[in-house]
């Protein structure tokens, strides 16, 4: 039986995010998407989708926060 | 001791514990002296930098850390330091810079000259700032003014320049050395950087992107310069009480002029000497005092005429000012100047 899967979630500061989308490019679970509404700086920030199409969620691998140039992402592990 | 050695010893006694320099004639003896002196001190640092430009920036770092720091060079090297001096002035950082002037412009030569007066007294780098400039004429003054330079630098938090020349630096003369100062007992520098240990972090900078803020910085500097101008007016008057003509000269030129004054006095010509010691701020108040009794002035410089403008500015037309100069490193003799005073020389 595989190791019990680590799960977690992330909080994205909608105002700090500048819409560079590097987090989306590194998220293995594809649980980050571009928001529809614009933030005060004039960017379309990213939002946490919770789960992807196959129903899988965040595994708290911290890759998104590691590459985020604006420290807009906080990561929590369950 | 040679003039350059006198400055070195005086700097150490003034509590200078950081020196960065670069070889250039005719001030090498000062750099060499500092190497030897700092090596004997536990808390002393000497660096022969890769350029005069690197040297002034090392001084900037040492000064930001609160240390009394000095650099020295000669004319071309001082030009290389101008950006650094502008930064020091903008950041309210103390430092002492010694310019051992030599023939110029360009590579020029290594004999004494006074061609850097404008560069020194008008703030030689970019931006609206001035530097305190002291003009010694004797070995004793090299000692006393070096001590004073460090005190002024710390008191007004600004760079101070000692403007000497190749002759003064090389010439041997007796000088009484002032008492040494313990750098640890100097007044504290609350603004210095030493790591934000239990206090908020500090920034020393000169970038102010907001013009309104930068304007305020400029006016702060201007007020500082007004205060300095009010508080520093240094000059020597020699046989001026009954004089009918006053020679105005500083540094080595003043020593030559003093010889000429004595010479013509023997022939009954009532000449006197006004010798500015603080070149910036120019001793306008004292010159105006002298001007109350005398109208004729002859300015003698080892250049094509720079300080003469400050004399004219100070007198505001209330005196006729003649000029006689020998640029390029030529050193006049008292006899030559005596003849100029007696009006025999054509080029007056």
């Amino acid at each position: 039986m595989g190791k019990e899967q680590v799960t977690g979630n992330i909080i994205i500061d909608q105002e700090l995010c500048k819409g560079c989308y590097l987090c989306i490019s590194v998220c293995p679970q594809n649980v980050i998407a571009v928001s529809k509404n614009i933030n005060r700086q004039g960017y379309y920030p990213v939002i946490f989708k919770g789960t992807n199409e196959e129903g899988k969620g965040c595994i708290a691998c911290v890759r998104c926060a590691t590459i985020c140039p604006d420290i807009a992402i906080e990561v929590y592990r369950d | 001791m040679s003039g350059n050695h006198v400055i070195g010893e005086a700097a150490i006694r003034a509590g200078c514990r950081f020196y960065a320099g670069y070889p250039i004639t005719p001030q090498n003896e000062l750099t060499e002296y500092m190497a030897g002196a700092m090596a004997k001190l536990k808390d002393g640092t000497f660096i022969q930098a890769e350029s005069e430009l690197a040297a002034i920036n090392m001084v900037l770092g040492a000064s930001a850390a609160g240390c009394r720091a000095m650099t020295s060079s000669s004319s071309p090297g001082i030009s290389l330091k101008q950006e650094g001096i502008s930064f020091l002035s903008a950041m309210d950082l103390p430092a002492v810079i010694v310019n051992c002037m030599r023939g110029g412009p360009g590579l020029g030569n290594i004999s004494p000259s006074q061609g850097d007066y404008f560069q020194a007294t008008r703030g030689g780098g970019h931006g609206d700032y001035r530097n305190i400039v002291l003009g010694p004429a004797t070995a004793q003054e090299l000692a006393d003014l070096t001590m004073l330079a460090f005190d002024y630098a710390d008191k007004y938090r600004t760079p101070v320049m000692i403007l000497q020349d190749g002759m003064m630096g090389q010439m041997m003369e007796p000088a009484v050395m002032p008492d040494p100062v313990d750098p640890k007992r100097l007044p504290p520098k609350p603004w210095k950087l030493d790591g934000a240990d239990g206090r908020p972090s500090r920034i020393i900078k000169s970038l102010y992107l907001d013009p309104a803020e930068e304007e305020q910085i400029n006016w702060n500097l201007a007020h500082k310069y007004e205060k300095i101008t009010d508080e520093i007016q240094r000059a020597e008057t020699y046989r001026t009480d009954d004089a009918q003509i006053i020679i105005v000269a500083y540094g080595t030129a003043a020593r030559i002029a003093k010889g000429a004054v004595n010479r013509v006095r023997e022939k009954g010509v009532k000449a006197g000497l006004f010798r500015p010691i603080s070149l910036w701020p120019f001793p306008t108040r004292i010159l105006k005092e002298v001007n109350k009794k005398v109208k004729d002035f002859l300015v003698f410089e080892m250049s094509t005429g720079q300080m003469v403008e400050d004399v004219r500015l100070s007198l505001e037309g209330k005196g006729n000012v003649r000029f006689y100069g020998r640029p390029g490193g030529v050193v006049s003799t008292p006899i030559e100047i005596a003849e100029v005073i007696e009006g025999k020389f054509g080029r007056v």
């Binding site: 560079c20 | 514990r17 950081f18 030493d194 900078k205």
Partner: protein, 249 residues
């Protein structure tokens, strides 16, 4: 019970960055701040920011900072370190600042073995001034001053400053890393940690060169810029340890 894995580093002021979206500078700021925090040296660290995009670094780092003229950080840092040998001094410079105008100061600081740590952000252009060629602009790379791409005969070749510094006897630890992927970012943090430790143990000059994306001036999306580092810059500037004579760290 959820544990927080990632948060704002202590030695970085909590404020938005002025950097462009996808810029590597702010990633490197975070790494430097994290390392300073983890080594617990924030109270005795003094930073020297450059003239360039990162000139405003003093608004971000919560340590004492003194600004240097363009290219002169290594000299200012030398003055600071010699006066305060038990403080930690680091410079933070872009490629133009350190490898063009500041070459002499940098090489001689390394050669003197100054006990300072230099952070060299290599993004291949002069960013702040609008994307001109830098000493590290690679051949064929476009910039506002290399029309049609950098041409060796016309514009010279990219400069290997870190390798040159490696030759100096005074250099103790020099590594080149990148911040274009989480893996490389973690590697950069390790390199920075080692560099600061080199200084803390007084073993001489340390420098970390960090390949960093500049999407705005490369005229690419941040994601493409990171790929471009992998594909184009890295061949010219291989990610490797250039010098390491450091012991027991």
């Amino acid at each position: 019970m959820t544990t927080q894995l990632f948060s704002w580093p202590r030695y970085l002021k909590k404020t938005a960055f002025h950097y462009c979206p996808g810029c590597g500078h702010s990633i490197i700021h975070r790494l430097v701040a994290e390392v300073i925090g983890e080594l617990d040296i924030g109270a005795k660290t003094i930073g020297v920011p450059p003239a360039g995009c990162a000139v405003l670094a003093y608004n971000y780092f919560d340590v004492d900072m003194v600004e240097a003229a363009h290219g002169r950080a290594a000299a200012v840092a030398t003055g600071l370190k010699r006066v305060l040998p038990d403080r930690i001094i680091f410079t933070y410079q872009g490629d133009g600042d350190i490898a063009a105008i500041g070459t002499a100061e940098t090489i001689h600081a390394a050669n003197r073995g100054e006990n300072i740590t230099m952070v060299f952000v290599n993004n291949g252009v002069y960013g702040m001034t609008g994307g001109q060629m830098a000493p590290t602009t690679i051949l064929g790379q476009n910039s506002t001053t290399t029309p049609g791409g950098r041409d060796q005969k016309r514009d010279g070749a990219p400069l290997d400053l870190s390798e040159m510094l490696g030759i100096t006897r005074g250099a103790a630890y020099i590594e080149r890393t990148a911040v274009n992927s989480p893996k490389n970012i973690r590697r950069t943090k390790k390199a920075l940690t080692k560099a600061f430790k080199t200084q803390m143990t007084g073993q001489g000059f340390s420098l970390v060169e960090i390949l960093s994306p500049c999407p705005t001036n490369w005229k690419m999306t941040p994601v493409d810029a990171c790929k471009w580092i992998e594909g184009s810059t890295a061949p010219f500037y291989p990610l490797k340890v250039i010098k390491d004579i450091v012991t027991n760290i």
